[in-house]
């Protein structure tokens, strides 16, 4: 396992420079949403995005794999502007687990093979070493491979979702509230799994969460986002022990918000 902090690299793995987005209102009026977002992260680093609902956390990570487009600023992946990378290729390098784990029809193996169908390369079999490694990283036994993915429990589906996101060997993994539908023991176990994968695979993990306890336990840096702006960002331990802004102090003092 790689120790934290990671060795400083000359170029950050992921860098956001003065990102701004806008939204179309119900009457067609255009209003600014995310404003002046700049931040970077390294391989093997786990970042948590916290803040009130509607503050722009999910919108922000959806920019990183280009599910959505910023109006201003640029995002660099290992020094390359993501607009220069064909979107399907970018999304192989920047994996994402959506909040709702959609399972494709068929077995868990069919689901893990899906990215290879998109790439039009040979499908890995049930004995493929890397496929088994992804399964094991997501803490699923090989017995799951032949099970119908849609009949699994929420926690199991989220693990298949994780294994499936890892199968493309991404450099960055985006997680949109991965534990929102899970109970406390399952959340803790998935959180631990995520941290281990982040370190062992040298993945930059960026996680949107409402679970402050989880964020505090596993993340290296935390970003507090409110009304489309980064209000405060820093090392997780410092940010939680001595929040500087009134907004974050208030947010941390509130009882846990339901997503």
């Amino acid at each position: 396992m790689v120790a934290y902090p990671p060795e400083p690299a000359s170029v950050p793995l992921l860098q956001l420079e003065q990102i701004a987005t806008a939204r179309k209102g119900p009457q067609g009026q255009i209003t600014p949403f995310l404003t002046d977002i700049s931040w970077s992260c390294q391989a093997a680093e786990l970042t948590a995005l916290i803040g009130p609902s509607g503050g722009g956390k999910s919108s922000l990570i959806r920019l990183i794999n280009r599910l959505e487009e910023p109006q201003q600023g640029r995002i660099l992946l290992a020094g390359t502007d993501i607009n220069e990378i064909p979107p399907p290729l970018l999304r192989q390098r920047v994996g994402m687990m959506l909040q709702k784990a959609h399972m494709f029809q068929g077995s868990v193996l069919d689901n893990l093979q899906q990215p290879f169908r998109y790439r039009k390369t040979a499908l890995p079999g049930a004995d493929d070493p890397y496929l088994l490694q992804c399964l094991s990283l997501a803490r699923l036994s090989p017995d799951y491979l032949q099970r119908d993915a849609r009949t699994l429990s929420g926690g199991e589906q989220q693990r298949v979702n994780l294994a499936r996101a890892l199968i493309n060997r991404p450099e960055v993994l985006l997680l949109d509230e991965p534990t929102s539908a899970l109970d406390r023991p399952t959340t803790d176990s998935l959180g631990q799994t995520l941290l281990e994968i982040c370190r062992s695979e040298r993945l930059a993990v960026i996680m949107v969460t409402h679970d402050l306890r989880l964020s505090r336990r596993i993340s290296d840096q935390t970003i507090y986002l409110e009304a489309g702006r980064i209000v405060e960002a820093g090392r997780t331990a410092e940010l939680f022990s001595s929040p500087q802004s009134k907004a974050l102090q208030g947010f941390l003092a509130e009882p846990a918000e339901e997503p």
């Binding site: 179309k24 794999n65 599910l67 990215p115 790439r119 493309n168």
Partner: protein
């Protein structure tokens, strides 16, 4: 009565036929279903519309102008677009462009192939052939076109999570939309397949019946019916295919993003 002679319907005979509508309206009134006024209105519209079409066709048959024939075919397409549009244009981006071009290429192409190569009459715009044949091809394809568009809009909405998951795993827009396209294409083709399979057993087709009534040999009427069924099937298949091919793309930006999340792109 001679073999090929027609029985003409005079006004009195038509009134006898219309008495059947009045009987239906009386039955509706007796059961108090509250639709009598609408039934009467619908029957009057039917009579007026058909009379108008009859006079128009007589005029077109007399004038025999290619421009007039094309104009009639285009307005038929326009009316059918309007009917489908009232149901789905809000849910499908670029509705008129996609539907219009697909119908013109799909139905128009098949109609001219059928008229010129299969039936092979001249001149090509002879309204006695072109208008009824094009009318049947367009009318029947409308059902398939409308099913393809409706099913596509529903699939793109219902499969939102699946589409995003596929994109996140590195799918192109085409690959992500493929399951939705397959379902929509199947939905568009099923009624035509069912009609083909049931033809002659469940019901005698309208064109064949009409030809037999007007004195055509049954076997010749059957040959015409087989040929027109083939043309209708091809028109449905091509029109629906073109609608889906252009339609799915309108839900995505050039960067393979769902347009609903990128309204400013």
């Amino acid at each position: 009565m001679g073999k090929n002679s027609l029985i003409h319907l005079d006004l009195l005979q038509l009134l006898y036929a219309y008495a059947l509508i009045l009987l239906s309206v009386s039955l509706a009134r007796f059961k108090q279903i509250g639709q009598e006024r609408q039934m009467l209105w619908a029957s009057l519209r039917m009579v007026v519309q058909l009379l108008a079409v009859g006079y128009l066709l007589q005029l077109v048959f007399t004038v025999r102008s290619p421009l007039l024939v094309i104009l009639i075919l285009l307005s038929m397409t326009g009316f059918s677009l309007q009917v489908i549009g009232s149901r789905i244009r809000q849910h499908m981006p670029h509705f008129y462009r996609i539907m219009g071009s697909s119908i013109i290429i799909g139905c128009g192409g098949v109609t001219f192939y059928f008229c010129l190569l299969v039936v092979g009459y001249s001149p090509w715009y002879d309204p006695r052939y072109l208008i009824p044949l094009a009318g049947m091809i367009i009318g029947n394809s409308m059902n398939g076109a409308s099913l393809a568009a409706e099913r596509l809009t529903a699939e793109m909405r219902e499969r939102h999570d699946e589409l995003e998951t596929a994109l996140c795993l590195g799918a192109t827009a085409r690959q992500a939309a493929e399951p939705a396209l397959r379902t929509a294409y199947r939905a568009a083709l099923i009624p035509t397949m069912n009609t083909m399979a049931a033809t002659g057993i469940v019901a005698l087709p309208g064109m064949m019946t009409g030809q037999i009534l007007s004195g055509t040999e049954p076997m010749l009427a059957v040959r015409y019916q087989i040929a027109i069924m083939c043309a209708i099937t091809a028109a449905v298949a091509i029109t629906a295919f073109l609608i889906l091919l252009q339609g799915y793309r309108s839900y995505f930006t050039p960067a393979d993003q769902l347009r609903q999340h990128n309204p400013l792109s």
